[in-house]
């Protein structure tokens, strides 16, 4: 028995006699048990060059770039959108003025579901959860006065991603910026829609076809664009554990790579433009370990399994959002603190881009005051705490390396389970990830109600009869009326013969094997609306209803 092992045994005997336990259980927020202390014995198998490597070198555990934040601080990219394009344009200009370095578009529910603002089912929802974009005209207004060759834009859009992307490409063109110059991301990750976010339009097979079409189109025409933001955020927000978030996201990613290869694309032609999106939740070290494990797993799979040759194909580049589901409606100012800790975890985890939540998001969309605090949170983190000075400072920590390894092992176990079910698409059809998530969400709720987990202000440290004294943003009904009016005007002013022709051409392409992006762009150019374009695709591809289960 080594010296350390002997000492540890003695120490554990003494520990049994001490009074312990301020909490009933010591686990991560995901329910993963943790030891009281970690020592070199917990990472005896760690080989520095094989498991960690140097920054910017395989397997990229420590970070994807050799300079990391010394070379480029993560993009400060606040997810925003509400009301009309004009309302949101103002908010974007405010954020850019205050130092945000990238844009991120939040669309309203009608837009997310490919419906125009004047669709019957859009009633009551226009502009409420994001900006209403029903046509190219709206997109032009959204970015009016914002040069699209100078800023990158991330758009959280999935089912109708191809159409909204077309609107953006054309809006840039109208500014004189070619598609080769624009930079940004469309979320376009349909697998996690079926699993968690639920904003699909069509069934899985045609949805994946559209995604491979976008990958092929970007490779030729929009080379600086990230075609998918393979997301774990929504999976986590739906209640999954950190491990499930990691495993399901990476498995989704691998499924897209397989799909691209299946339609004949060279993996190195599209893999460098796949990007990721993770949650940064409350358990500080678990999150940092999760990001590190993600990079290592992805690099290995891309290099060894998919045989990608370019280094760029092996890099897991990601955006992070602090955990919305961890925020409380009670004592909302505490959310500023939660968000700050989560932002720090994301930065220590090596994120390329970060959104910090606003304190009022359990009540409404962010007010100006709240979103500026969220942005300042990132700026204080970047410029005052010193963490940008050193790459992956937690490497070598016995705890962090141990849980990085543990999460990696757990992820591979999930990959095996999903493969046994026939792959991710089949697993989704059988409800497997959905059930895992619902179970985890329920376990967490039970733990809260039993006070096995504490949520300050909610099940402990509560304030009876507290008054909420923060400004709350309200979106009123005039947004919907305004959108109705503008759509009516649009339909009168455009050349409806051309619109019909382009929509017919799109229907043909969708029915065959041609890439749908060019005909979508041509229809959008003639000011066909989002709903009109999506409806044509629905006619060809059908719709999808998930079996209700809980």
């Amino acid at each position: 028995m080594g010296d350390l092992e002997k000492e540890k045994k003695k120490w554990q005997e003494k520990l049994k006699k001490s009074t312990q336990c301020t909490m009933p259980k010591f686990e991560t927020i995901s329910g993963s048990p943790v030891e009281i202390v970690y020592t070199p014995d917990d990472i005896t198998d760690l080989n520095y060059l094989r498991d960690l490597g140097l920054p910017g070198e395989y397997p990229f555990t420590r970070g994807i770039r050799n300079t990391m934040y010394r070379g480029r601080i993560w993009t400060m990219r606040e997810f925003s959108g509400f009301g009309t394009a004009m309302d949101t344009n103002k908010r974007y200009k405010l954020l850019l003025e205050h130092g945000e370095t990238g844009l991120s578009v939040a669309f309203d529910f009608p837009t997310l579901y490919g419906k125009d603002s004047d669709d019957q089912l859009s009633h009551g929802e226009v502009g409420k959860c994001g900006v209403a974009i029903s046509s190219l005209k709206d997109m032009e207004i959204l970015f009016d006065g914002i040069p699209l060759d100078k800023v990158s834009t991330s758009m959280t859009i999935n089912g109708p991603a191809s159409v909204v992307w077309a609107f953006y490409i054309l809006a840039a063109e109208k500014q004189g910026v070619s598609s080769e110059k624009i930079r940004g991301t469309i979320q376009n990750d349909i697998l996690k829609e079926y699993i968690a976010q639920k904003s699909w339009l069509f069934p899985p097979e045609p949805s994946i076809r559209i995604i491979t079409d976008t990958m092929a189109y970007a490779a030729k025409k929009v080379p600086q664009w990230n075609t998918i933001s393979i997301s774990g955020y929504h999976i986590r927000e739906a209640g999954s554990t950190a491990l499930q978030e990691l495993a399901f996201t990476l498995k989704d990613g691998m499924t897209y790579v397989e799909a691209g290869i299946k339609v004949g694309l060279d993996v190195d032609s599209f893999a460098p433009r796949l990007s990721f999106f993770f949650d940064s939740h409350l358990d500080f070290f678990e999150e940092i370990a999760k990001f590190r494990a993600a990079r290592r797993i992805w690099a290995r799979e891309m290099k060894e399994t998919f045989k990608a040759k370019k280094t760029e194909s092996w890099l897991l580049r990601f955006h992070t959002q602090t955990a919305g589901c961890s925020l409380t409606a009670q004592q909302p100012e505490n959310n500023i603190v939660r968000t700050a800790y989560q932002a720090m975890a994301a930065a220590l985890g090596g994120t390329q881009s970060l959104h910090t939540n606003s304190m009022d998001e359990t009540w409404a969309l962010p007010s100006e005051k709240a979103v500026l605090i969220a942005l300042r949170t990132q700026q204080v983190l970047a410029y005052e705490t010193g963490i940008i000075n050193v790459i992956d400072p937690l490497a070598g920590s016995y705890y962090v390396e141990a849980i990085t390894n543990k999460l990696e092992q757990g992820a591979y176990e999930y990959f095996k389970k999903i493969d046994a079910l026939g792959g991710m698409v089949k697993a989704i059809e059988q409800g497997y990830p959905q059930r895992e998530i619902a179970h985890a969400a329920y376990q967490y709720q039970k733990a809260l109600e039993k006070k096995e987990k504490i949520l300050v202000g909610v099940n402990d440290f509560t304030m009876e009869g507290e008054k909420i004294e923060i400004p709350i943003l309200k979106i009123d009904y005039t947004v919907e009326q305004e959108q109705h009016r503008r759509l009516e005007e649009l339909r009168k002013k455009r050349d409806n013969t051309k619109v019909k022709k382009r929509l017919d051409e799109l229907k043909q392409a969708a029915s065959g094997k041609d890439n749908v992006m060019p005909p979508i762009i041509e229809a959008a150019r003639e000011y066909a609306s989002l709903g009109e374009i999506c409806n044509v695709m629905k006619e060809v591809f059908g719709t999808y209803r998930e079996p209700p289960m809980f």
Binding site: G124, E237, Q445, E546, P548
Partner: protein, 135 residues
């Protein structure tokens, strides 16, 4: 109350796809001994009321986080009345400001449960409302 077990319909109206809360509440109500039917997503008020009547429920619970509550709750209330099912209790949860909650209570909504509400509170409320005594 007419049957053995209280029958509850948990519904997701409108376009909002965030179903974590609805599913957690559905499970908790089932574990508490109620009969729970979950509609799934993207329900219109008409679909919800039709299902409520078909399934002969005692309670309808709506989960709305999209800000559309002032449109959807009144619509469901009116439809229930129109179809002669006005005695079905309407409750709900989600992101609903306190002033809006008061407004909806005045219109006839039973109780609204905001973020952070323990599921046990919903169970207790229903047991009290329907005078259910644990055997």
């Amino acid at each position: 109350m007419k049957k053995e077990k209280l029958r509850v319909l948990v519904a997701k109206p409108g376009l909002d796809g965030h179903d974590r809360g609805a599913k957690v509440v559905a499970r908790a109500l089932r574990d508490a001994g109620f009969e729970v039917i979950y509609t799934g997503l993207h329900q219109t008020p008409e679909m919800i009321v039709e299902t409520a009547i078909q399934e002969d429920v005692d309670v309808v619970g709506l989960s709305i986080l999209s800000g559309a509550h002032m449109t959807i709750f009144p619509r469901v209330l009116n439809l229930l009345k129109e179809k002669g099912a006005g005695d079905i209790l309407l409750i709900g949860g989600g992101i609903i400001p306190k002033e809006d909650m008061q407004d909806l209570y005045k219109q006839g909504v039973g109780k609204l449960f905001g973020p952070g509400t323990p599921t046990s509170e919903i169970v207790e409320y229903l047991k009290e409302f329907f005078k259910i005594v644990d055997k």
